[in-house]
C-alpha cells in the first residue's frame, strides 16, 4: 500500500509537470504580447511549392544578412542573439549579432542558418533562422490569404509586413498586414 501511495504522488507530480509546460509556453507568449515592443518586419514572396501549406501562411521575412563585426568569428549553426533597431520608415532592422545576451536593447535568440565567407574563411555576413515565419489561420482562410499575400507582393507590389512583439529575447508574431490592413479584414473587403 505504501508503494501505491508513492505511485500516486509520482502520478500527481507528472500531471503537474505536464500542465506546467504548456502553461509556461502560454505565459511567456502572453507577457511578450502584452509588454513586448512592437516591430514591423517587411515580408517577401514565398516558395509556392511548400509542402506544408493549408492551415497557415508561410511568411518570408526580408533577410538581407547581418554584417559580422570585425574580429568576431561565427560558424554555421551557432546560437546567437540578433539586436533589433527601427529604421527611418518604421521597419525593423536586424542590426548586429552577438554571442552574449544583450542588455538594454531589443533582441531575439536564434541560430545562424548560413553565412557568406571572406577569402580567409571568416564569416562576414550571417543569415539567421527567423523564429517567426508562420501565421496560423482558419483552414478555409489560409490558402486564400496566402494567394493574396503572394499576389500583393509579386504583381501589385503592395507593401506586406508582419508585426512581431519582442520581449527578453522571445518573439510572438502578432499579425499579417497587406497595405496596412490585417489580412483577415483584407480578405473580407476584397
Amino acid at each position: 500500500m505504501k508503494n501505491r501511495k508513492w505511485m500516486f504522488v509520482l502520478l500527481m507530480s507528472l500531471f503537474v509537470i505536464q500542465l506546467s509546460v504548456p502553461a509556461y509556453m502560454i505565459g511567456n507568449r502572453e507577457m511578450t504580447l502584452r509588454y513586448g515592443k512592437q516591430f514591423k518586419f517587411k515580408a517577401e514572396p514565398i516558395d509556392p511549392f511548400d509542402a506544408f501549406r493549408g492551415r497557415y501562411v508561410e511568411v518570408n521575412i526580408r533577410n538581407e544578412g547581418i554584417d559580422v563585426a570585425e574580429g568576431e568569428k561565427y560558424m554555421t549553426g551557432d546560437r546567437v542573439f540578433v539586436l533589433l533597431e527601427t529604421d527611418a520608415q518604421g521597419f525593423a532592422l536586424m542590426k548586429s549579432i552577438s554571442k552574449e545576451r544583450p542588455k538594454g536593447t531589443d533582441y531575439f535568440e536564434t541560430r545562424i542558418y548560413y553565412g557568406s565567407f571572406k577569402e580567409d574563411g571568416v564569416m562576414d555576413k550571417a543569415y539567421v533562422r527567423i523564429p517567426f515565419s508562420r501565421y496560423y489561420m482558419e483552414e478555409s482562410l489560409a490558402p486564400k490569404a496566402e494567394e493574396e499575400y503572394n499576389r500583393s507582393i509579386r504583381e501589385q507590389n503592395k507593401e506586406v509586413y508582419v508585426t512581431v512583439r519582442v520581449r527578453n529575447g522571445s518573439t510572438v508574431l502578432e499579425g499579417l498586414f497587406i497595405e496596412g490592413v490585417r489580412v483577415e479584414e483584407y480578405l473580407k473587403k476584397y
Binding site: M7, Q18, L19, V21, R29, M75, R134, Y136, V172
Partner: protein
C-alpha cells in the same frame, strides 16, 4: 511460466487426476494459481484491442477538430480550450489509476489517450501564438512529458509511441544541422520497461510488440544517427546489428511462432537482405580510412561515436557467436557470422580490389543457401528447404543480370555451380543407395 507451458500443464492435469497422482482439488488449485492458459479468453483480448484503438482514434479525432483553428474564437478562449484534452486525458488516467488499474485495456487506452493529448495541447498553443514549426523541439518535449506514463501505467502502446517519437526526433535533429546522439540516451530510458515486460512473459502481446518496435526503430535510428565520416562503416554497423539481433533472438524457446520472435525474424531477414546488397560492388568502392571525411559540417565527436557503435555491435555479435558455437548450433552460427564476414570484407576493401570482397560475399550467401537447403532436408522441413532454394535462385538471377561481370566469367561460374549441384545429387543418391543396401 510461459502460456505455452501452462497450456501443456492444463492438458496434463486430467490425466494426472485419473492416474491418482493429483486430486481434483489439487487440479483446481493449480488452475487458480496459474490463471488463464490463453492469456485471457478471446473476448478479453478483443475488448483490450478495441479499448486501445477507441482511445487512440478519439484522441486523434480531437486533434483534428481542434486543429481547425477557429478564427472567431478569441485568444483567451483558445488558450483555455488547449487545456481541455490534456485535462480530460489526465482525468481519465486518474480514474484508471484509482478504479481500473487491473485492466490492461484501461491502462493502455487511457495512457495512450493522455499521451496524444499532451501533443495536442502543445501544438494548439503553437497555433494560437504562431510558434513556427520547431518540429524536433516539439517532439522532444512531448516524448519526455509522456515517458513516465509508460512506467506508471505499465503501458506498451505509449512505449511504442515513444520509441517511434524519439526516432522521428532523431531524424529531424540530424537533418537540422545538428546530431542525434541524444537519441541513444532517450532510448536507454525506455529499455528497463521493455526488459521488465520480457521478463514477465516473453510471449505476451506487450513484450512481442515492444520488441518488434525496438528492432525496427533501431534499424532506422542506426542509419539516421551515423555521422558517416568514415565511408563504409555502415556496412560493419548494420551487419553487426543484424547478427546481434538474430543471435539474441535465438537464446530462448525455439518453439514459438516467427512473429513471436521479432529479434530472430528481423535479424534473419536483415542478414539475408543485407547480404544480397553486399554481393554488389558499389558498397565496397571508395571506403575506409583513406576516404575519411574531415570537412566542416561533420561532427567529430559523433564520428567517434560511430566507431564505438561499430565496435560494440561486433563485440556483442562475436561473444554471442562463441556461445552458439559452444552449443554446436552451427546453422545459426552461419547466419550470425555475417558480422564477421563483412568486417573482414571492410578491412580487405582498403587494400584490395572491391571485386575480391564481392566474391567472398557471394560465396558466403551461396553457402548460406546451400546450408539452409541441407538443414531443411535433414530436419524434414519443406519451408526451410524452399527458403534455401529461394536464396540460391535469387542470387543466381541477380548475378546472371549483373553487367559489371564479364560474360565469360559469369558463364564459368554458373557452370561450376551447376556441376556442384549435380555432384551433390550423385553423392546423396549413393548415400541413400548404401542405406537401402543395409
Amino acid at each position: 511460466m510461459s502460456r505455452k507451458n501452462i497450456k501443456w500443464l492444463y492438458e496434463e492435469i486430467p490425466g494426472l487426476i485419473s492416474k491418482g497422482i493429483l486430486t481434483e482439488e489439487d487440479g483446481e488449485r493449480l488452475r487458480s494459481f496459474y490463471g488463464e492458459a490463453e492469456g485471457g479468453n478471446g473476448l478479453k483480448t478483443v475488448l483490450t484491442v478495441f479499448g486501445i484503438l477507441g482511445a487512440i482514434l478519439i484522441g486523434a479525432g480531437i486533434i483534428l477538430i481542434l486543429a481547425k483553428n477557429w478564427s472567431e474564437m478569441p485568444r483567451g478562449v483558445r488558450t483555455v480550450v488547449s487545456f481541455i484534452p490534456l485535462l480530460s486525458g489526465q482525468g481519465l488516467a486518474l480514474y484508471t489509476y484509482m478504479k481500473r488499474s487491473e485492466s490492461i485495456a484501461w491502462r493502455e487506452g487511457s495512457a495512450s489517450f493522455l499521451m496524444i493529448s499532451i501533443g495536442t495541447a502543445i501544438s494548439l498553443i503553437g497555433q494560437t501564438y504562431n510558434i513556427p514549426g520547431d518540429f524536433d523541439g516539439f517532439v522532444l518535449t512531448w516524448m519526455l512529458l509522456a515517458l513516465p506514463l509508460v512506467y506508471l501505467f505499465g503501458a506498451a502502446i505509449p512505449g511504442i509511441f515513444y520509441m517511434v517519437g524519439i526516432t522521428a526526433w532523431a531524424a529531424a535533429a540530424q537533418g537540422n544541422n545538428g546530431n542525434a546522439l541524444l537519441f541513444w540516451v532517450l532510448l536507454v530510458l525506455v529499455v528497463p520497461f521493455i526488459y521488465g515486460k520480457v521478463r514477465e512473459d516473453i510471449y505476451s502481446n506487450s513484450a512481442v510488440f515492444l520488441r518488434w518496435a525496438l528492432a525496427g526503430v533501431l534499424c532506422a535510428a542506426i542509419g539516421i544517427s551515423l555521422e558517416k565520416v568514415l565511408p563504409g562503416l555502415w556496412i560493419v554497423v548494420y551487419s553487426g546489428y543484424f547478427s546481434t539481433l538474430y543471435l539474441t533472438g535465438l537464446q530462448k524457446h525455439d518453439e514459438a511462432a516467427w512473429w513471436q520472435q521479432p529479434f530472430k525474424t528481423v535479424g534473419a531477414l536483415g542478414i539475408l537482405i543485407f547480404s544480397f546488397l553486399l554481393t554488389y560492388e558499389w558498397p565496397w568502392k571508395n571506403i575506409g580510412w583513406n576516404y575519411y571525411r574531415h570537412s566542416e559540417g561533420f561532427n567529430e565527436a559523433a564520428g567517434y561515436f560511430d566507431l564505438i557503435i561499430a565496435a560494440a555491435v561486433i563485440l556483442i555479435a562475436l561473444s554471442m557467436l562463441y556461445k552458439i558455437l559452444k552449443r554446436k548450433d552451427y546453422f545459426s552460427a552461419a547466419y550470425g557470422s555475417l558480422a564477421v564476414v563483412s568486417t573482414i570484407g571492410f578491412v580487405l576493401a582498403q587494400y584490395t580490389d572491391p571485386v575480391a570482397v564481392t566474391i567472398i560475399l557471394n560465396l558466403y550467401l551461396f553457402g548460406l543457401g546451400i546450408y539452409t537447403v541441407v538443414k531443411g532436408i535433414g530436419d524434414m522441413k519443406l519451408g526451410t528447404t524452399n527458403g534455401g532454394m529461394l536464396i540460391i535462385a535469387l542470387l543466381a538471377v541477380i548475378r546472371f543480370f549483373d553487367y559489371d561481370i564479364e560474360y565469360l566469367v559469369r558463364g564459368i561460374a554458373f557452370i561450376l555451380a551447376g556441376a556442384g549441384f549435380l555432384a551433390c545429387n550423385v553423392v546423396l543418391l549413393r548415400k541413400r543407395g548404401k542405406k537401402n543396401e543395409k
